[in-house]
């Protein structure tokens, strides 16, 4: 039987295509109370007075919730393990409003119309405060965003709210200043990245009800059901045993559903009223009042010798966490820890900086998680260095990059909130990735530019990337497998399928161990009452961490089945073999089919429910690696740009499901292309998001995506399930730098801020012309 590494359609694709009920909003109770949030029109303000005298008497208005209704317990919505590496700096509702879209109050009504009407009748008197909208001025700004005394860090993360500092960090290996002074060539540049939006197709949704045991049952479109349960319990003082969180089908997450958003309101309303409630975010709310990617300023310095030997890297980062500090430290850490080890042969490397509070929509987890920002800076700078050294950028990379069997001191130093974990790269096929990518894009013939006409030019560019596979010693996944009569299995996992295909991949791993077909594995994810603990779908952890848990559980069940069958057949288990359908004793020749075996132990002989539960915590986080190559065409006059071809060659170990892995890479590439080119975030001078809908925030459409080539190099990660590493995030990292490099190869201008819009290129060209005059 071979299930992994074959083409397997996803286990849920057919039902979803046919429109079966599955997503959070499909499960709201009829007659649910409708919750609507009144949101701050100001970037920074204090609520002076709320007049709800016209709204409260409206028939159908049930509650108007303000800060006074909630226990004043600071918490973080980040949706991480406990204790969180994010500051506890948020209250469900507060008197101070810290961004346009922050929650002022909640209206609970019997219908959508009444809730809307009530919202329009509530008058709020605000004291408008000066906002901080330029994150470069936030540190030690006279305006304080978090003066409240109750907030705290859970352990040292460099949190200093008196300085508008959510987190800060510094590290150095060797002596960067000394090394740089001895270098022949220095490249020093400043880069900016923007507050990209996730734009998962399903907006955030939650609903709640009280079940017949008087417990609170929440359906949530979330990546982290177990964290949601804990955070609700802590912030609302509801006993955790009384909460059940069910994650039904989720319509995309990309990190945007790692955190807790509307869940707090639905939980509170239903717990108080004992009536079902529902809260679905509008697309506008998803844009302005959930999360964005952390915008960053990155100062990157590279030092090298004439022959191309890279000696030192210095990366100093300023990150904008917005109004609250969710993922402030950890995203920032990944900007260093999953980027800088790419060039592990340097004598010195320094990384550090600040994560500041501003009056922007909070930033949070987003696929790439800091690595895409760091990658844009580093991989742009490497090309700039190659230009200065007059070297082929591929050769410069090949000389200096990480190779199999090597390590980087950074792995041991930088973790996510704690120290890191030392590891050797047992698999690192960057050389193969580059060689194959080079051939697929036609680098030899096309670099740096080709096919120039009077108005257009074509060019190529590339970048390398790495990510991780879960957070070592922190991320834990578990699985339970049980054997049923007639010989099929239930696989219960806390791992959260959010569209990435984890239900299919985890089922494949179980099927492979149990030597059965995919249809015999019935997977269920995830439900805090029914499935074992899993941290959830983030940090590229599911295939590697949860997959290893499934592997262990399936192996344990198989051993139990063999023991039991040996008892039943009255033979030694050592000589009994199981091929997925038959148990056969090699000594006596006695045998029993799985069907008969499972039916007998269920109904007639030595009855027993066979099941196994296993957990897995990674001791390392083997990085997937990739090389991304792009071919573009640019209009030399207008600087309009089209992506002709994007080649991804990936080392993610051995993919469990080739097509789904390809889907992860290609989806991530296109999301990365959006960040690189089209997703331009604009705000008003008063901090109001002007690109808060899909008319003005432009994600790539299918017309911009002409040709993607995705290949996986042969690689086998021993510590991963069937040789697999992660693949969910690494794809997003290369497009920004690859595109910026291609633009320079085309036109000789270097764009250092994202997105790389035609207009920016146009003005860079204009400046270049005027400098040449």
């Amino acid at each position: 039987m071979k299930t992994v590494q074959t083409i397997q359609p996803s286990v849920d694709g057919k039902g979803l295509m046919m429109g079966r009920k599955g997503y959070t909003d499909d499960y709201k109770e009829p007659g649910s109370l409708i919750i609507k949030i009144l949101r701050s029109p100001y970037a920074h303000a204090k609520i002076k007075q709320i007049d709800s005298s016209k709204a409260s008497p409206l028939p159908g208005v049930r509650m108007i919730l303000t800060a006074a209704d909630f226990p004043r317990i600071p918490f973080t919505r980040a949706g991480q393990g406990y204790p969180e590496p994010s500051p506890h700096d948020k209250f469900v509702l507060d008197e101070t409003l810290r961004y346009v879209g922050d929650e002022v109050l909640a209206v609970v009504a019997e219908s959508e119309e009444v809730a809307e009407k009530a919202l329009s009748l509530i008058r709020v008197d605000y004291e408008v405060l000066e906002p901080i909208l330029d994150f470069e001025t936030a540190l030690d700004h006279p305006v304080l965003i978090h003066p409240e005394p109750e907030i705290k860090e859970m352990f040292p993360i460099g949190f200093d709210p008196k300085r508008n500092l959510a987190a800060s960090y510094q590290m150095e290996v060797g002596e960067v200043i000394k090394e740089l002074a001895a270098c022949d060539t220095i490249v020093k540049s400043r880069f900016f990245t923007q507050a990209q939006a996730h734009v998962m197709m399903e907006p955030h949704a939650v609903n709640a009800r009280i079940d017949y045991q008087n417990r609170l049952v929440i359906y949530s479109s979330t990546q982290t059901p177990f964290h949601i349960r804990r955070i609700i319990s802590q912030a609302l003082e509801i006993p955790i045993s009384q909460i059940r969180v069910i994650k039904p089908r989720v319509g995309g997450g990309f990190g945007g559903k790692q955190a807790i958003h509307g869940e707090m309101f639905a939980a509170f309303v239903t717990w108080k009223t004992k009536q079902p409630s529902t809260l679905v975010y509008t697309r506008k709310e998803v844009f302005s009042s959930t999360y964005t990617r952390h915008p960053m300023r990155l100062d990157l310095t590279l030092g090298a010798m004439k022959d191309g030997t890279l000696k030192a890297i210095d990366c100093q980062v300023l990150s904008d966490t917005g109004a609250y500090g969710e993922h402030a430290l950890t995203v920032f850490m990944v900007t260093g820890s999953k980027v800088l080890p790419l060039y592990n042969k340097v004598s010195a490397v320094r990384f550090g900086g600040h994560v500041v509070y501003t009056n922007h929509t909070p930033a949070g987890a987003f696929r790439g998680y800091g690595a895409i920002q760091g990658n844009f800076a580093l991989e742009s700078a490497i090309d700039m260095l190659a230009k200065k050294l007059k070297m082929d950028p591929l050769k410069l990379r090949e000389m200096n990059m990480m190779k199999e069997g090597e390590t980087s001191p950074i792995f041991a130093i930088m973790g996510e909130g704690t120290a890191g974990t030392a590891m050797i790269m047992d698999t690192c096929k960057l050389e193969e990735c580059i060689a194959r990518g080079k051939a697929l894009i036609g680098w030899e013939d096309k670099y740096p530019r080709f096919q120039e006409t009077k108005t257009t030019v074509r060019a190529v560019g590339m970048a390398l990337a790495m990510q991780g596979s879960g957070i070592p010693l922190i991320d834990m996944g578990s699985a339970t497998i049980k054997l049923n009569d007639d010989g099929f299995y239930n696989l219960l996992v806390g791992a959260t399928e959010i569209g990435q295909g984890s239900d299919t991949v985890l089922s494949q791993i179980a099927a492979e161990v149990l030597e059965t077909t995919l249809d015999k594995i019935i997977i269920y994810s995830s439900d805090t009452d029914l499935t074992p603990f899993d941290v959830g779908a983030y940090a590229s952890s599911t295939t590697y961490v949860s997959g290893n848990a499934v592997l262990k559980a399936a192996k344990a069940l198989k051993a139990k089945m063999i023991d039991k069958a040996a008892q039943l057949l009255e033979v030694e288990s050592d000589s009994l073999v199981f091929d997925g359908t038959m148990f056969q004793d090699l000594k006596t020749g006695k045998s029993i089919s799985l069907t008969d075996f499972s039916n007998q132990i269920t109904y007639s002989k030595q009855q027993e429910q066979l099941s196994a539960t296993a957990s897995y915590v990674g001791h390392k986080s083997p990085p997937p690696f990739m090389a991304g190559f792009v071919e573009i065409e640019i209009d030399k006059q207008t600087c309009e740009l089209s992506i002709e071809h994007y080649v991804s060659v990936v080392d993610c170990g051995t993919p469990i499901n080739l097509k789904l892995a390809q889907g992860q890479v290609e989806g991530a590439i296109v999301q990365g292309l959006g960040m690189a080119l089209t997703e331009n975030v604009k705000e008003s001078s008063q901090g109001k998001l002007l690109t808060g809908d899909l008319l003005s925030y432009t994600i790539p459409t299918r017309k911009e995506i002409k040709r993607l080539t995705t290949e996986f190099v042969s690689s086998y990660e021993k510590s991963g399930p069937y040789g697999a590493k992660s693949v969910g995030e690494v794809g997003i990292d290369t497009p920004p730098a690859a595109l910026a490099n291609a633009i320079e190869n085309a036109l000789g201008v270097r764009i250092t801020s994202l997105p790389l819009t035609p207009e920016k290129i146009f003005f860079a060209m204009k400046e270049k012309r005027s400098n040449n005059e």
């Binding site: 209009d635 006059q637 207008t638 309009e640 690109t691 459409t701 017309k703 911009e704 207009e759 146009f762």
Partner: protein, 250 residues
Amino acid sequence: MLTEDPKSVILGGGLWLRLSFSEVSTLIGLEKLGLDRIEEDDQWIKLGSQVTLRDLQTSTPLQSLAGGILSQASEHIMGIGVRNVATIGGTICGRYGFSDLLTALLALDARLVFFKTEELSLKQYLAKKKPLRDILLSIRIRKTPGAGYFHKISTTALDFAILNLAIARRAGKYKIVVGSRPGIAKCAENAMEYLDQIENPSESDILKATQLALEELTFSTNLKATQEYRQELARVYVERGLKAVIGLEY
């Protein structure tokens, strides 16, 4: 009903009702008036005001009219679902600055037939400060043969135009229209007049006309682009468009 109640609204496609109006007392539908047909005679193509953008995109007579600029303009507007519902009448009466259709229709010198008001050219209609409280019944376009060029610059295929332009050369007469400046589509009258007097414009005539167009059209900055970039886009594409309709290479 329309004339009596200021909060009554005629439904075109009706898709942006929620985005465009906060309060509407009466919505007036025109579905049953048979205004959803494209008809033609020897001289004119007549488009009912309820003709959808998808109809414009796929209409054979329109695809061959002046290089098919009206079909092309329709094709680049949002998704097919929107094009199946949004109507030419709704687009004209919406008078959106970013409209691609208005740009193409101006280049075709479209004429508007109303229920009460006498027939107007689209140019005259757009020059009016206030929208008419009247019902647009149909749009008439002369079938004069000739060449056309349409171009839309946008960030993605679903996005509104950063700039759009349509150029037509029919029976020796030129139309040069630039829209989403971000102001509403406008003709470059001086440039058109200049070219109208030249039988076979040379490359330098085209440059001169382009210069005239840039001098007479105004551009400004909004979310999508700066004034300077828009101006440059207009310069490049007016020149390219003119070369295309005149048959010169660029």
